[in-house]
């Protein structure tokens, strides 16, 4: 059988690897972005000089040939559903028996005036990394539009090169659509500690260029003018559905799939950031992409079972502050009780959420929790008293840190 995967991100590659483990199918992974699989969340570290591009490859180059996964550095232009082949930009059409779309997502631009100027860009791909390198050659000031995870990572990147950064955030506090107020406030302060001009309640009205078409500043909705030589748009990402929609596959926000990852077309599947489930959700995390890729490989080789999302967890890093979240910790805590703790320097924070005295989630800033233990407590619905008493079991900080065992959680008054 001939299996073709479009996209060599974590979803597509995990699928290909898992499929190879249990089958002898011919597997081809097509990507226009890079010849080899690399870790997208790590792009920032190349710009900061922590790593080189070569270091981002989770597998050495010989891995692909050894595992008989053919990698094709080409752009998939169109899918011919009738002839069952993929039309490529540079090579002959690629026939498939099974096609997996793992085309990921792309930055959401909102038609601001001036968004096509030189020096305006998003930051999600290898090409964006190269572009950023060029765009910051003689850049002293930059504006980041949008908070969120990409925004704060780009802020950290640019600060590492001594560039003055203004960050425009529409909301009244950083990422407060995801983080509850305490956490969001801590991150606000930390962003400012890193000398980033965090401008809350501020949106972009337009980007202004000079005669040569290069960006030289932005104007905010409240009329403020900020001079800059770089604008990074980080107002979220949307599923990359171009290939699917132009080939006649059903799409809504993402590529429409059922819970078995099947699209509207026979033998075509979609996984990862680009796929949208029947309930309307799109899962755009590294971990979910990996789970989906693995699950689909299982479906194709064995018994078809509907995908169920794993218990929720995620992590990120806001400059120096690591963030981990497990279970249910919504930004709006209405109807959910919390027990919280904050360190004296204000950079460490722990929240335990509970309902009816059953623990349902954790948020940790600057503290490492043991995933296995937290998820177990949530799954069991452990009592708040039990978790507070046994919190040391969830300590995953480096030895001698002694933070978690000394945490005294304060239960909020409901």
């Amino acid at each position: 059988m001939n299996v073709v995967v479009i996209g060599n991100g974590v979803a597509g590659v995990t699928f290909a690897r898992q499929l190879r483990k249990s089958t002898d199918h011919q597997i081809t992974v097509v990507s226009a972005e890079s010849t080899h699989f690399y870790s997208r969340p790590a792009l920032m570290y190349v710009y900061m000089g922590h790593m080189e591009k070569e270091h981002l490859k989770p597998y050495e180059d010989w891995f692909w040939a050894k595992n008989r996964i053919e990698i094709l550095n080409d752009f998939a232009q169109r899918i011919n559903l009738r002839k069952k082949h993929v039309v490529l930009a540079n090579t002959a059409p690629l026939p498939y028996d099974v096609l997996v779309l793992a085309t990921g997502s792309k930055p959401a631009f909102f038609n601001w005036p001036g968004q096509d100027l030189q020096g305006v860009q998003g930051f999600t791909t290898m090409q964006d990394l190269d572009r950023l390198e060029i765009n910051t050659k003689s850049c002293r000031q930059a504006v980041i539009v949008g908070g969120g995870l990409i925004g704060i990572e780009v802020a950290e990147m640019l600060r590492s090169r001594g560039i003055e950064v203004s960050m425009l955030v529409r909301e009244e506090s950083y990422w407060n659509t995801v983080l509850p107020p305490d956490e969001s406030t801590i991150v606000n302060a930390h962003i400012r500690e890193h000398h980033v001009e965090l401008q809350l309640n501020t949106e972009l009205r337009q980007i202004v260029g000079d005669d040569s078409g290069r960006v030289r500043g932005v104007v905010t909705t409240d009329g403020k003018i900020i001079p800059c030589q770089l604008v990074v748009i980080s107002t979220g990402v949307r599923p990359n559905i171009d290939l699917a929609s132009s080939s006649g596959i059903s799409v809504v926000r993402g590529i429409s799939i059922n819970n078995n990852f099947e699209t509207s077309e026979q033998d075509i599947y979609a996984i990862g950031d680009c796929a949208q489930f029947p309930d309307g959700r799109v899962e755009q995390l590294w971990y979910t992409a990996r789970h989906q890729g693995k699950h689909l490989a299982g479906n194709i080789t064995g018994k078809v079972t509907p995908y169920e999302r794993e218990p929720f967890y995620n992590s990120a890093k806001f400059f120096d502050i690591e963030y981990q979240t497990y279970g249910t910790v919504p930004a709006d805590l209405a109807g959910i009780e919390s027990a919280t703790w904050k360190s004296e320097n204000g950079r460490k924070f722990l929240r335990l959420t509970h309902q009816y005295n059953r623990v349902c989630g954790f948020n940790a800033l600057g503290i490492r929790l043991r995933s296995e233990v937290c998820l177990k407590w949530i799954a069991e619905g452990a009592s708040v008293e039990h978790v507070i008493e046994h919190l040391h079991q969830a300590d995953f900080d480096q030895e001698f840190t002694a933070v978690v065992k000394n945490i005294r959680l304060h239960r909020s008054v409901a």
């Binding site: 974590v10 870790s39 969340p41 790590a42 570290y45 190349v46 900061m48 000089g49 922590h50 790593m51 080189e52 270091h55 981002l56 490859k57 989770p58 050495e60 005036p113 001036g114 096509d116 100027l117 002293r140 000031q141 590492s160 001594g162 003055e164 500690e193 890193h194 337009q206 202004v208 078409g213 030289r216 500043g217 104007v219 003018i225 001079p227 590294w286 971990y287 990996r290 794993e310 967890y313 992590s315 990120a316 890093k317 400059f319 120096d320 690591e322 981990q324 490492r368 929790l369 043991r370 995933s371 296995e372 998820l375 995953f396 900080d397 480096q398 030895e399 001698f400 840190t401 002694a402």
Partner: protein
Amino acid sequence: MNLIQIAIPIQAEPEASIGLQEKIGFAMLTFGIVVLVIGATGLFNSIPLLYGLASIGMSVVGGFVVTAAQLRDKLPGIKNDGIMFSKLKRRGLAGWVLGVAFTGFYVLLYWYPAALTHVIHSVDTLSLLMRNKPADQWFLYGTFYTAAVIIMGIRTIAKYRNSKYQLYRTISVVTAQLLFAFIIPAMLIFFNSKEFYFHYFWPLKYDVLFPSTLKGLLASNSNLVVFMGFWSVAMTFVATPFLTYYLGKRWYCSWVCGCGGLAETVGDPFRQNSDKSLAAWKVERWMVHGVLVFVILTTSLLWINSAYQGEVLGEWSYTFSKAYGFYIGALFSGVAGVGFYPILGSRVWCRFGCPMAAYLGLLQRFFSKFRITTNGGQCISCGNCSTYCEMGIDVRAYAQRGEDIKRASCVGCGVCAEVCPRGVLKLENK
């Protein structure tokens, strides 16, 4: 394009990032080294105290000044910014020059010590003070080594000060160097006892269990020297398996050992240069275990020879041990081990050549509670752990599969866990 003309104020240039304090520190460091080299001509032979202060003293103070300056205005946390752009730290010209300089120094030390005759005077005063006898090339080397470990140790502490593990570990390894490799051996000489390094054991200090050495120690009139004999045997055969079972090889390699001390301090800026490929791992396994076999063979031959009063093997076992001393002791651990820091990373010797590391590694791999735990499925395959592993372990390969890491070569420095941006790794004894 919808452009409108708006007057945008031009802002002032940001200030240059390299501060005055750093410049002064670097100037002092450079001055000290220049004075040291000039002294090689014998120009300062008549003023050893002044020579020592102006060369080594000045460099040490300069080193502190630079370290202190680099700490300013930085929040605690891992800051590996710009390492891959550095000519010094990423095998650029400066790195190669430093590598050649290191290597050159070892070549002089081992094969042309006469060239250092006058430089040795820089530590004469210190040697008289500490050991009641004039300096020799080894005291000079020891002084350099210890000073470098202390200065760069402070840098290491500053860099990883967000972590108590790194703080305690670095203090331990620096203190071990200062005490066991510098002060105590000097004191032993001062009090006319035997020069002895309490933190080096067989098979790293291979000759300590050679029949002639061990019998010599045990037959001594001095209780202290007899104790050294028992200490050597006990550390190798009792303490090492015991401690490694509970703590992993790190109790030695990154907390006590002098080679480890240099690697964790002077070598820290170069840790990213170790080769992470599978091919390198294969070479490593053959080499390091080969050296261990070599030491065991040598030691056994010597004991067999000794048991038969030299009749069985004659001169041969002696030649064998001389060969080991030259090829492994000098050429490998010194010249290649330290000289290649800037090119091959900070643990070339520990990884490819150290028989103690091989012995500890076998214990760690098959007989230890130590491991690096992976935190569920949270790895994002970023590669920081593998990149900054000085032992060239592809940590990510395990972490991204959600597997714990139990590798013979891991020295437990803990830097993979420090640089992990998602809190995925933790060193544990469980």
